[in-house]
Symmetry: C2
Subunit: 168 residues, 2 copies
């Protein structure tokens, strides 16, 4: 397999994977392109490589900057901005988890609490539904704390701990 073909395969794979997890295809593909590139790329280069519009390229590059998955740099004597990806994938995983927690999980827990608090304690069906919501809330909160641990722990300590746990 030729390297350019391998890169294209990877970009397409990462794009599909993204869509399965609620991340838009272009954003995942721009990310994959920058991960594949040894050098920082301009908006135009991203547009050309992926055959996407300027607006799309710009928007997704900006989003990737917000997610802290991509950085900018400028080249002396050149007005354009150049973008390159964070390549430490453990960092990447941590940052994605951190953002999704903040944007999605924590608001969800918030909403579940509100639903729970709005319920009376009179009827059996209210009590029953309150229990269900509590069960969901507990599960989500647990996964949320689990991800906190993931974020705090450094790679080796974390997996070392698991190994130890699995052996005993």
């Amino acid at each position: 397999m030729e390297i350019q073909e391998a890169k294209r395969t990877f970009i397409s794979l990462w794009g599909n994977f993204g869509t399965q997890w609620g991340i838009n295809r272009s954003m995942a593909q721009v990310h994959a392109l920058l991960l594949s590139s040894e050098v920082a790329l301009s908006t135009e280069e991203v547009m050309d490589e992926l055959k996407i519009s300027r607006g799309n390229a710009n928007m997704n590059l900006r989003d990737l900057l917000n997610w802290n998955l991509v950085y900018k740099k400028s080249v002396p004597g050149d007005r354009k901005e150049y973008f390159f990806a964070e390549k430490d994938m453990w960092e990447v995983a941590k940052r994605i988890v951190k953002e999704r927690k903040r944007r999605e999980i924590e608001p969800l827990i918030q909403h579940l609490n509100e639903i729970r608090n709005g319920l009376g304690k009179t009827s059996d069906s209210e009590k029953e539904f309150a229990k269900t919501i509590e069960g969901i809330n507990q599960m989500v909160s647990r996964l949320n704390s689990l991800s906190d641990t993931l974020l705090k722990a450094d790679e080796h300590a974390f997996f070392g701990m698991f190994m130890k746990y699995l052996k005993k």
Copy 2:
């Protein structure tokens, strides 16, 4: 807040949350409806409650059965099938993780390996790209093993372990 309103809020919340994670809105809403219900519901009841078509209701109920998040039962003297949700949310989380691993994560690891294996070792750029793919593969594989641990560990042992880890 009236309980019916609380349930509707929950169904809508769970539906939105689903879409953010690549699960279609109807499926998440059918799931939420069954989680909210004390009794098993027929396809018609699901259609009526959520205002969705028969095809949609049927398809999503079948999917939820495949995910092991919902069960069927039959009522003597009634031909219809009735559906009810698994309410142990820790079980629910485990089953979702298990399915997504099987359907999405493991094939991804497979594909990444193929890309890696197809690369030569001649040029620097090939070596560089191989490194990137390896980094991604390692990260994904690590999260995959982490979720294995999650699946194996029972609730209390697992979180007990984290507590201990965080304190020391």
